[in-house]
C-alpha cells in the first residue's frame, strides 16, 4: 500500500472505471461484497471510501423508491394501502384512564369536582402570582409578563412569608388561584398551581422559559382583552383534570375582538404554553404571531387539597423508577 497519494491507491479496492485522481464518484461503483470500509487503516482514504459508499447507498435507496412508486401507479386502484410510519404517538401504550367523550362517569365527576363552580359561571377567576424567596431579575420579569397574559391577575412579592399563612389570606380576599414560581440560580424552574378554596394543587417542573424580548418575530404587547384558551391532547383522566385547572385560570368569556389565544399543548407529557395573536386571512387560512412569554411544564405531582407538602393527600406523583421505564407510556 503506497501512502503517497491516498486517492490513487483506491484503484486496488475494486474496479473504478475512469477514476483518475478526482473525488467525484463515477456512476456505478462496485464494491466487492466482502469489502468493509472500516478495514482501511488510513483515515483519509477510509473517509473517502465511506463517502462513496454512502452515495451509493443513497442512489440505491432512491432507485428503490422510484421503482416502488412506479409499481404503485401501475397497480392503480388495486395498490395496497400506504404504510403508515411508526411514531411515538402511534406506538403509545394504551392508557386505561383515557377519557371517552361520552363517558357519563367522567361527566358526572366533572360536574361535582372543585372546578364545577367555575364552569357553571359562578365564580370569576382571580389569580395571585408570587415567587419563592428573593426572586431575581428574570423571574420578576417573567411574573410581570405572565400577569399581562392572564387577565385579572396580581403579582405580589413573597418576602419570606409561609405559604400556609398566605393561603387563608388569599381565600379571605376572594382569590381563586395561586401561582407560585420557584426559582433556582436566577431562572424560574418550577411552578405550583393551586386552586384556592381547597382545590387541587399541581406542582410542575418548568423549563425553556422565554421572555418576550427573547422571542423572535414577536408582535406588540398583549392587550387587555380576555384571550381564548386552547387545550390540546389532554386525553387521560389526569390530563383532563390538569386541563380543567388551566382552563379555570382564564375568564369564561373570551373577547374575540382581541384575537388572542393562549395554548396549552400536551405532547408526550410535556405541556407547552404559547400565547399568540391570530388573524383569519380567509376561511382556510389563519396567520398567528407569537406574543407573550412561552414555557414548558412537566407535571410532577397533583395533590388533593391546597399546598401542603408534608401532610397532603397526593393524587398522583411522578415516580421516576416506575414511570420512566417505558418510552411509550405517557400519563397526561
Amino acid at each position: 500500500m503506497k501512502t503517497s497519494s491516498g486517492i490513487e491507491n483506491l484503484i486496488s479496492y475494486g474496479p473504478v472505471p475512469g477514476d483518475g485522481a478526482g473525488p467525484p464518484a463515477p456512476e456505478r461503483v462496485l464494491f466487492p461484497p466482502t469489502f468493509s470500509v472500516s478495514e482501511i487503516k488510513n483515515k483519509q482514504r477510509r473517509h473517502f471510501m465511506f463517502l462513496r459508499w454512502k452515495q451509493q447507498q443513497r442512489k440505491e435507496k432512491l432507485a428503490l423508491k422510484k421503482k416502488r412508486r412506479k409499481e404503485r401507479e401501475a397497480l392503480g386502484d388495486k395498490a395496497p394501502p400506504k404504510a403508515v410510519p411508526k411514531t411515538i404517538e402511534n406506538q403509545r401504550v394504551y392508557d386505561e384512564t383515557t377519557v371517552d367523550p361520552n363517558d357519563e362517569e367522567v361527566a358526572f365527576d366533572e360536574a361535582t369536582d372543585e372546578f364545577a363552580p367555575y364552569f357553571n359561571r359562578q365564580t370569576v377567576p382571580k389569580i395571585l402570582i408570587t415567587t419563592s424567596d428573593r426572586p431575581r431579575g428574570r423571574t420578576v420579569r417573567f411574573c410581570e409578563q405572565l400577569a399581562t397574559v392572564i387577565p385579572n391577575s396580581h403579582v405580589y412579592y413573597r418576602r419570606g412569608l409561609a405559604l400556609k399563612r398566605i393561603i387563608p389570606q388569599c381565600i379571605a380576599r376572594d382569590f381563586t388561584d395561586l401561582i407560585v414560581i420557584n426559582e433556582d440560580r436566577k431562572i424560574p424552574n418550577g411552578l405550583v398551581l393551586s386552586h384556592l378554596p381547597d382545590g387541587p394543587t399541581a406542582h410542575f417542573r418548568m423549563s425553556s422559559v422565554r421572555l418576550r424580548k427573547e422571542i423572535k418575530r414577536k408582535g406588540k404587547e398583549p392587550t387587555e382583552h380576555v384571550p381564548e384558551v386552547i387545550l390540546n391532547n389532554f386525553t387521560t383522566r389526569l390530563g383532563h383534570s390538569i386541563g380543567r385547572m388551566f382552563a379555570a385560570l382564564f375568564p369564561h368569556n373570551p373577547q374575540f375582538i382581541g384575537r388572542q389565544v393562549a395554548t396549552f399543548h400536551n405532547q408526550r407529557d410535556y405541556i407547552f404554553f404559547r400565547f399568540h395573536r391570530y388573524i383569519f386571512k380567509s376561511e382556510k387560512k389563519v396567520g398567528i404571531q407569537e406574543l407573550g412569554p412561552r414555557f414548558t411544564l412537566k407535571l410532577r405531582s397533583l395533590q388533593k387539597g391546597t399546598f401542603d407538602s408534608k401532610f397532603g393527600e397526593y393524587e398522583w406523583i411522578h415516580k421516576r423508577r416506575e414511570m420512566d421505564r417505558s418510552r411509550r407510556k405517557f400519563h397526561l
Binding site: 409561609a162 423549563s207 381564548e228 390540546n232 410535556y270 407547552f272 388573524i279 398567528i288
Partner: protein
Amino acid sequence: MHSDDVVWSMLGNRQFCSYKMTTKTQNFCRNEYNLTGLCNRSSCPLANSQYATVREEKGRCYLYMKTIERAAFPRRLWERVLLSKNYEKALEEIDENLIYWPRFIRHKCKQRFTKITQYLIRIRKLTLKRQRKLVPLRRKIERRENRREEKALIAAQLDNAIEKELLERLKQDTYGDIYNFPIHAFDKALQQQEAESESESDAEREEEDEDDEDVDKREFVEAEDSELSDFEDMDKLETSSEEEQEEEEEVEKKASHSKWKGKTPLKGPARRKRPYIEIEYEEETEPSTKTKTA
C-alpha cells in the same frame, strides 16, 4: 510530677500542641473541652489540672469538671453534671459546683452556658419556620428530560396544531358574526385563488416527502428550483414580498413574514407574481418623487 507550667511551656507556648490552630491574628484551640476556644495559658485544658467546661449534648447542657486528684485516671478524669433546663437554676448549679474555683473559670463557664442556651433556642425557633429543602438535580435525568422535551416540541408542531384548532373553531361558528367568510359556498374558487397568491405564506412544515405538497405547487417548484437554491436570494425575496403586503394589515404582514422560513422553492410563484405587483408600486411612487424634485 504533673506541673502545669512545664506542660504549657512545652506544648502551648510553642507549636507542639496538636490542638493548636494558628491564624494571622489569633491562636485557637481545637480541644473539645476548651472553655473559650482560644489557646491561652488559662484556657488550655491540658495545661490546667483544675478545669471546667460546659458542653451540650442533644439539647441538654452538662458541666464537665476536672481535678488534679483524678489526673492519674484518664477514664474518670472528667466529671459530668447535668444542668437544669431552667436558665437561672442552671446558673446556680454552676455556681454551686464550682464554688471555691478560680473566678475566671466560673465566669467563662457561665458565659459559655448562656451562649449555648441562646443557640439552642434559635435552633428550636428555626425548625418551626419553613425549611427549604434542597433537592439535588441528577445530571443524567436532567439531560434526558431536556432531550425528550426537544423531541416532543418537534413532534408537537405547535403552529400547525394551533392553526388547525382555530380553523375548526371558525368552522363551528364559535366566532359568530365577526368574520364574514362564505364558508360552504365558493369553496373551490377561493381555494384556487389562495393557492396562487398565498402559497408563499403557508405554515411552516417539517421536512416531509414532496408527495405531501399539492400538485399545483409542485409544478411551480420543479421549474424554479435551480434558480432559488441560494439563501441570499431568499432574503431579497422576503423583503420584496414584504413590500407586496404593505397594504395589508401589519399583523398579517408579520405573520406571513414569519412563515417564510425554509421554503425557498415556494418563492417560485411569488417570483412570477412580483413583476405584476411591483409595476403597480412603481406607478404609485413615481408621482411622489416627481413632486419632491419639483
